[in-house]
């Protein structure tokens, strides 16, 4: 029976391989500059992986390249002198990544030869390109080549390496016999013409950057393991004598490769059938938004593979629903998902690898106890899938400009979650139990919380910054994710949904399978909007200026008909007159509204800050302010006093760090303040009582 199964699988593999080659080659006929052929075996007894790798690298530049630089990421967990360890120590996080005996990660190349058989290891040495210089870091290996690589020339290297899976690394890790394997193989940096290698060492806050490549990876594990990996499984061979199984995965045009293995995975497959997910009306609606024809935005079917921990088996449908929503809206808005599979991994327990993206595969993460009003794990599924678009297909340098994927993707995640689910409650837990069971929290949209938290780091760092140059991890995260997303949401409100939708789609389509930079994004924004919005990026992406416009005071006072005092006119005393012409009814009210700019940041040329004032008789007045000075004042003479005043009533400026000072109404938010004050009061009463009964 076993034999029969093998031969049938072989046949299946051959058919799949043929199918794969025939379909994908037609999609991407051109060659990638990098090709990997890797055979890897997982040895669970020692938590080691042993592998051989054939790396083909082509010089696509006009430079003569004397060396090749390889990332050896797992050496970040080798000792306490690595850059990751040093940066963790600075942040008081060292314990989390501290090297326990025999549990730190490392990677060692045991052999590296050219096809001619020349040994390159003697010419290899570790380098640390980033500042502050850390000569002890071993995450970048520079290998001198026997002779410089000419333009167009290809070099093939045969490597053998072994690596210890870190027990508590960043993103990769193992716990018992559950493994998540990422950043695990020697991988060249990106060679930039005229500039040399862009190959940064591994930092606490940095993610990655690599060239698009074609991968063929054979993964051997003990038979009991369920495996998932980037790309498509095209073959499976069982070695019954050894109790092992080898899976072959292939994928073209991706820039990283990750895999996971655990005996506690359930593997579930579903098909994303575009015809069932999107109605003709929805196609029409999005086509109208983008000024395209519905045929131009048609989506393909995608095979969805879920590897979920058995303990979460009751959440299978919740996972797929979120993934289908993500495939649908990212696809409709930004363009079709270009690969045939997407693998969603609920990462093995305690491997510290959740919430992370890889091309065609992502790690989500959930909990056994969920609250139905909290969008978890939905938020993380949508976000990590979304990285296939921002990072995967449009592949920015995450070391240097992390906002380009994290910020754009946080913005996109919020939009997808909002249309697919609406607002969600904030996930607060105590001892693993949702607090939502006890206390009612308001449901919020991502943009509402993003803008709130990003205001705490505005003055620390600009959004566009090298990831290791941020003040700390919190500033990195809040600037790159939430602040960037808030700025993009502001841009959308400033330009309108249609223009913004076109900007995002243009940026995605133009830079598919490329490495765009912040300038490229700005260029697309200016081109599609037809405006020069350089100021917007200067104020909100490249600066640390706080943006806070406010209504600082509102005064309405009754005017009397008689005005006392003497009024001179050409030397003669004249009778005092009412300030308005007769015929209008008295009393009149003079309303003075003072606006201020508390922050350093300002709105740009040609843009106006709007003020909407409503009076008690229902009349509405609008005023505009260019917002350049520190303050301005508007006066209104009206039959009734002011009822409400709103600065930016269209709610464009989400970047405003304090929206609480943007409005005025005499009565205030009514019951809200006494309710809140009493809430605090009751809390303090209970705390006092608890303290009193403790002793």
């Amino acid at each position: 029976m076993g034999k029969k199964r093998i031969s049938r699988r072989k046949l299946f593999g051959i058919i799949l391989l043929w199918f794969f080659l025939s379909t994908t080659i037609s999609v991407w006929p051109e060659e990638r500059a990098v090709k990997y052929f890797i055979n890897v075996e997982l040895l669970p007894e020692t938590h080691l992986i042993k592998a051989n790798e054939t790396l083909r690298w082509t010089n696509r530049t006009q430079d003569y390249i004397p060396d090749i630089q390889l990332h050896l990421y797992w050496n970040a967990f080798k000792n306490e002198l690595s850059t990751v360890a040093k940066e963790s120590r600075n942040e008081g996080l060292l314990k989390r990544y501290q090297v326990k005996k025999n549990e730190g990660g490392w990677i060692k190349i045991t052999s590296m030869t050219t096809v001619e058989g020349q040994d390159l290891l003697p010419s290899a040495s570790f380098i640390a390109p980033d500042k502050p210089v850390n000569p002890d870091d071993q995450t970048v290996l520079r290998v001198s080549l026997p002779k410089p690589l000419s333009p167009g020339e290809t070099i093939t290297l045969n490597l053998e390496f072994e690596a210890q899976v870190p027990s508590n690394g960043l993103r990769a890790g193992f716990y018992r016999d559950g493994y998540f394997i990422s950043q695990w193989f020697p991988k060249p940096g990106v060679y930039q013409e005229g500039k040399g290698w862009n190959c940064h060492q591994y930092h606490l806050n940095s993610e990655f950057f690599a060239d698009f490549a074609d991968f063929q990876v054979k993964i051997t594990v003990p038979e009991k393991f369920v495996v998932g990996a980037c790309g498509e499984e095209v073959d499976r061979k069982v070695n019954q004598a050894l109790g092992k199984i080898t899976y072959t995965y292939i994928q073209q045009n991706i820039h990283d490769f990750a895999w996971a293995a655990s005996p506690r995975f359930l593997k579930v497959e579903r098909l994303f059938k575009a015809s069932e997910e999107i109605t003709p009306e929805e196609y029409q609606q999005v086509a109208n938004l983008l000024d395209l024809r519905p045929e131009e935005i048609k989506l393909p079917d995608v095979r969805m593979i879920l590897l979920i921990e058995k303990q979460h088996r009751n959440q299978i449908e919740r996972h797929f629903r979120a993934l289908r929503a993500a495939l649908k809206y990212y696809g409709l808005w930004y363009g079709p998902y270009p690969y045939r599979t997407i693998t969603m991994v609920d990462p093995p327990f305690r491997t510290g690898s959740g919430g992370m993206e890889y091309p065609t595969l992502f790690a989500a993460g959930t909990s056994v106890i969920l609250s139905k009003n909290v969008l978890s794990p939905e938020g993380v599924i949508i976000h990590e899938f979304g990285h296939n678009y921002w990072y995967g297909i449009v592949a920015n340098n995450e070391f240097e400009e992390a906002w380009l994927d994290e910020g754009i993707n946080t913005y996109s995640t919020g939009k997808v979650a909002a249309v697919a689910y609406g607002p969600g409650e904030y996930p607060l837990k105590f001892n693993g139990l949702p607090l939502n069971w006890l206390v009612k929290f308001p449901a919020v949209y991502d943009w509402q919380t993003d803008r709130l938290f990003s205001s705490t780091v505005v003055k620390l760092d600009p959004i566009v910054n090298f990831s290791w140059d941020f003040f700390n991890s919190t500033s990195y995260a809040l600037n790159v994710y939430q602040r960037a997303s808030t700025a993009l949401n502001t841009l959308e409100r400033l330009l309108g949904q249609k223009t913004m939708a076109k900007i995002m789609r243009t940026f995605q389509q133009r830079y598919r399978f490329c490495h765009p930079k912040t300038e490229d994004f700005i260029k697309v924004v200016n081109e599609v909007s037809g405006q020069n919005l350089d100021w917007f990026f200067q104020e909100f992406f490249f600066s640390t200026k706080d943006f806070d416009y406010a209504i600082s005071s509102v005064k309405s006072q009754k005017l009397t008909e008689k005005i006392s005092g003497l009024y001179d006119q050409s030397g003669q005393d004249i009778q005092p007159a009412a300030p308005e012409k007769a015929g209008k009814t008295w009393p009149k009210y003079e309303t003075t509204i003072t606006l201020r700019r508390y922050g350093e940041a300002r709105i740009g040329p040609g843009v106006k800050m709007k003020l909407k004032v409503k009076f008690e008789d229902g009349k509405v007045e609008w005023r505009e302010w260019d917002g350049q000075n520190r303050w301005t004042r508007f006066t209104f003479i009206t039959p009734t006093p002011v009822q409400t005043a709103q600065l930016d009533p269209e709610h464009i400026w989400l970047v405003d760090s304090n929206l609480s000072n943007n409005s005025y109404t005499r009565l205030g938010p009514r019951q809200k303040i006494p309710t809140t004050t009493h809430g605090f009061f009751w809390l303090v009463e209970n705390m006092l009582l608890t303290l009193g009964s403790l002793f």
């Binding site: 509102v554 005499r666 019951q671 209970n686 002793f695």
Partner: protein
């Protein structure tokens, strides 16, 4: 039947002396007012003219967080104020406990504020000493709970799913609460003996130890039963609280009444504890 002979009379004496709960409630209100006043000022200064809009562009709660973020410099001195206030409260509560125990244990049925204060000052010193004595007992029980949690830690540490982690952390909390109630029982009994038998703190400890060596489990059982009733009623309070919407003035008033009723209820339960413990001791001491 222990419930009939101790719990009912204990509850009855708490009902008879209900005025005590009101005294304590008023004092707590004053302390809480002092604690909340600066926060209230901050909220009013920043949000009392806020226009939320229909529907609100941003939920009010987020505006609240926003002004807290914008006024971070307010919180450092405010936390110091709270720290001082809470330290003072600890001392004040020793006085109030002395007054409460004194009036609960006395056979006089009539409650006056002056008697309440008189008992507070009469027993303050012994209650203060008993608190000092209780601290090492509390630490001992805390360490015991950590020690007993050891197998739970091993179980959770080895697990391959999240369930043992959640279950063990909640069991650990439960274990701590159970041990804390046991330590609290000793503490209460020492104080009852101080008043009832007019003993010094150390002698009261000896007497309490001696008494509990015979009666611990039945008394603790009663303690836990009352504790359970307290928890159940608290959940009902919270549940009703969730149903009330404070959007309108009526709802707000209802919410305030309910919340303050809960505080009085907590104080009342405290009196029930003292009532039945006192009754139990009275009936079973030799």
């Amino acid at each position: 039947m222990p419930i009939k002979s101790y719990l009912f009379p204990g509850t009855k004496s708490a009902l008879i002396k209900f005025k005590l709960a009101i005294y304590l409630w008023l004092i707590i209100i004053i302390l809480a007012l002092v604690a909340v006043a600066p926060l209230n000022h901050l909220v009013r200064a920043n949000l009392s003219h806020l226009y939320l809009g229909q529907p609100a562009f941003i939920p009010f709660e987020l505006h609240l967080i926003e002004i807290f973020i914008a006024h971070q410099d307010f919180f450092q001195p405010y936390l110091y104020l709270l720290l001082i206030l809470f330290s003072l409260t600890a001392i004040i509560f020793i006085f109030l406990d002395a007054a409460l125990f004194g009036r609960m244990i006395t056979s006089e049925r009539k409650i006056t504020f002056s008697d309440f204060l008189a008992d507070g000052s009469r027993y303050f010193w012994s209650f203060f000493l008993s608190t000092l004595l209780y601290l090492p007992i509390f630490i001992l029980f805390f360490l015991l709970s950590r020690f007993l949690a050891f197998p739970l830690n091993i179980w959770a540490g080895k697990s391959v799913t999240e369930w043992p982690v959640i279950i063990s952390s909640n069991l650990k909390l439960l274990l701590f609460i159970l041990l804390w109630t046991a330590s609290k029982l000793i503490f209460d009994l020492i104080r009852i003996i101080i008043i009832k038998d007019q003993k010094t703190v150390l002698l009261a400890l000896r007497q309490a130890w001696f008494f509990l060596s015979k009666h611990f489990f039945s008394l603790w059982g009663l303690y836990l039963l009352v504790g359970l009733i307290f928890v159940l009623i608290s959940i009902i309070f919270l549940f009703i609280g969730r149903l009330i919407s404070a959007e309108h003035l009526f709802g707000l008033v209802l919410m305030i009444i309910l919340a303050q009723a809960y505080i009085v209820f907590r104080l009342f339960i405290r009196m029930v504890f003292i009532g039945f413990e006192n009754r139990y001791y009275e009936k079973n001491r030799i």
